[in-house]
Amino acid sequence: MGNLVEIENLTVAFRSKRREGLFRSGPSLKALDDVSLTIGQNETFGLTGETGSGKSTLAKVLVGLYRPTSGTVRLLGREIDYKKRKDIAFLRQNVGIVFQDPVRSLNPSLTVKEVITEALIAAKSIPKKDYDERINFITKLVGVTKDLLPRRPRELSGGQRQRISLARALVVPKKLLVLDEPTSALDVSIQAQVLNTLKKLKSELDMSYLFITHDINVIKYVSHRLGVLFYGRLVEVGDTRTVDTEPKHPYTQSLISHVLTLRKVGLQETVISEHRPAPTGCRYRIVCPAAFEKCAEVPNWVNLGGDHLVSCFLYDHSSQKESRALIPAAAATGGDLRVPPHEHS
């Protein structure tokens, strides 16, 4: 089975509005830097990272809202040329998106039915007589009752609005659904209901998910594979269970150890310092407890077996003389971010 989406060396840069001179534009900021990943058929790919790591930028590239600065995006084997309208249309035909804020993503002046119908009209491929049948089918599936259809978004609760966003995205069948923090704005019991619905939907409609969230508990629960972004760069990709139980990259280790769970009752007394990305080389090296000289270069991807990839020199034995022992997760919890300098010199 081929991959549904293949992203290769994707870079998205934003130019700063502040100009440095009359003819010189300001510095550009790479929201995504050389990101490569694939999403398989019927797979849920989880993408996580802290605020500003570029998660949403990737989502927007996949629906054609941002253009890549360089790199390629292939959908169903077809390379997308972001300058061609036809390609963008192809992208939108096959990729749906649900945003975080259910208030701002629905038109307040339309009724629920009109909101969903708009998506059908935009698709153009569906005959008008089929509209009602489709709306009935999808609303039943996502759990929107019929009495909600004539209402307007402001009369609905957050969970209902998010279900309507889902219905709108899926009323025309999609191959990939991008979910950008779909449950962050919801109450916990509603979040659980929406997660259950999402899992059910995926088994009934033949499609893949790109699930983006900073909530590790949620992403673990929904995704087959997990990718971790740190300031625009992917640092680790692998099977969710493997990444969760044996994180390799120092950043992932620290991230996983900071996840709050119900079982871990007790006070966390460490305070982590601000994450400042390094401008060159491995972006995590400024705060990394295991950083050494080599980290000033961009690390290669190392395959640890079973599609578990990590971008870190600690595991790259080809470019390193002595192989360093893995850092225990405890060292990466932020308690002590320093490694005695003599260890590396």
Binding site: V188, S223, T261, L262, R338
Partner: protein, 368 residues
């Protein structure tokens, strides 16, 4: 060491022991029999509008002892924010109408105080951190001015008043404070305006304004909602440092995982009522009330192949249109006839453990 900014690194080294102090959970100040700082009794608040009267809080009682972290957990519409605002006396009247009850802070009923007296309690007595820091920070003043202002108030109100520091000293104090919160380059942050900061940074500035006043009771309303795990950890770390200093903290949240981390006791609220209360560990590990069980079950556990989360359908309650009997009964899988007819009272089930549910057997002390 391949770190390009050596100076920065040194700063972190000197700082590290101060912030990430040994995680001595053992030496936690519990003082169980400590003085009661805050006691709310039977508080009932209505909001009155042209559409009618809506009961936001209904007979809420709670208590916080000195040095305790008390969690108020509930979903939207449970009245937890209204409760926080009521303690501070920030509810506008109209629409708010306090029907009955009392809020006793250090022996004084706050509801009977004049606004001039209340003003003296604000800041150094009771302080609140709001969910949206942009709303609580002044957009036209720099971070330094705003923290400095709070510091001035704190100095003035001490008994006897402490003389104000010179401008240079104040600046140094504030810089140290921000550095202790792990804010990079505090000197630069001082000069900035709230809109120039990231969400997590803003929230930390808002919290530092509160902490610098050293309040005897701090209320924080969902301070980490919408922030990522790291920022959350940083903020929770700050609060834990504060409780070490013996401050009482009222922590309002909808997130059970956070509550389980920092709260000594929690109150579970639903539709303006306390449904269950008790020591955090007990409540979360052996919930008595079906609503608490629902909340616990809503926290995703396991991986992709795990079974669906066992939550009941249904939305948070509509306060304008509440069901009769137990307010949770339409969503409750265990509801009996009595639950639909009469509302249960909050009863002490076992020591320091309260629940409002007909299905909880008082003799057995558990759900049956």
């Amino acid at each position: 060491m391949a770190v390009d900014n050596v100076g920065e690194n040194e700063a972190r080294q000197t700082l590290a022991p101060a912030v990430s102090a040994p995680s001595s959970n053992v030496a936690r100040p519990r003082n169980k029999g400590g003085d009661v700082v805050l006691e709310i009794k039977d508080l009932t608040i209505d909001f009155v509008s042209v559409d009618g009267r809506v009961r936001i809080l209904n007979g809420v009682s709670l208590m916080a002892k000195k040095g305790e972290v008390v969690g108020i957990v509930g979903e939207s519409g449970s009245g937890k924010t209204t409760l926080g605002m009521a303690i501070l006396g920030l509810l506008d009247s109209p629409p708010a109408n306090i029907v009955s009850g009392s809020i006793t802070f250090e022996g004084r009923d706050l509801l009977k105080l004049k606004s001039s007296e209340m003003e003296k309690i604000h800041g150094t007595g009771i302080n609140m951190v709001f969910q949206e820091p942009l709303d609580s920070l002044n957009p036209v003043y720099t971070v330094e001015t705003q923290i400095g202002e709070a510091l001035k108030v704190q100095r003035k109100r001490q008994d006897p008043p402490v003389p104000q520091e010179s401008e240079g000293e104040t600046k140094k104090l504030i810089t140290d404070l921000l550095r202790n919160l792990c804010i990079d380059k505090p000197e630069e942050v001082l000069e900035r305006y709230p809109h120039e900061l990231s969400g997590g940074m803003r929230q930390r500035v808002a919290i530092s304004i509160s902490t610098v006043e050293k309040p005897r009771l701090m209320i924080s309303d969902e301070p980490t909602t919408g922030l990522d795990a790291y920022v959350q950890s940083r903020i929770l770390g700050m609060f834990s440092a504060q409780r070490k200093a013996g401050e009482t903290l009222l922590y309002i949240t909808h997130d059970l995982t956070i509550a389980s981390q920092i709260c000594d006791r929690i109150y579970i609220m639903y539709a303006g009522r306390v449904m269950e209360a008790g020591e955090t560990r007990g409540v979360l590990q052996e919930p008595l009330h079906p609503y608490t069980s629902t909340l616990v079950a809503s926290v995703p556990q396991g991986y992709e192949d795990a079974s669906p989360l066992s939550v009941q359908l249904g939305e948070p309650p509509d306060l304008r249109n509440l069901p009769s009997g137990c307010k949770f009964n339409p969503r409750c899988p265990h509801a009996k006839d009595v639950c639909k007819e009469t509302e249960p009272k909050l009863d002490e089930i076992s020591a320091e453990r309260y629940a409002a549910c007909w299905r909880v057997d008082k003799e057995l002390g558990k759900f049956s």
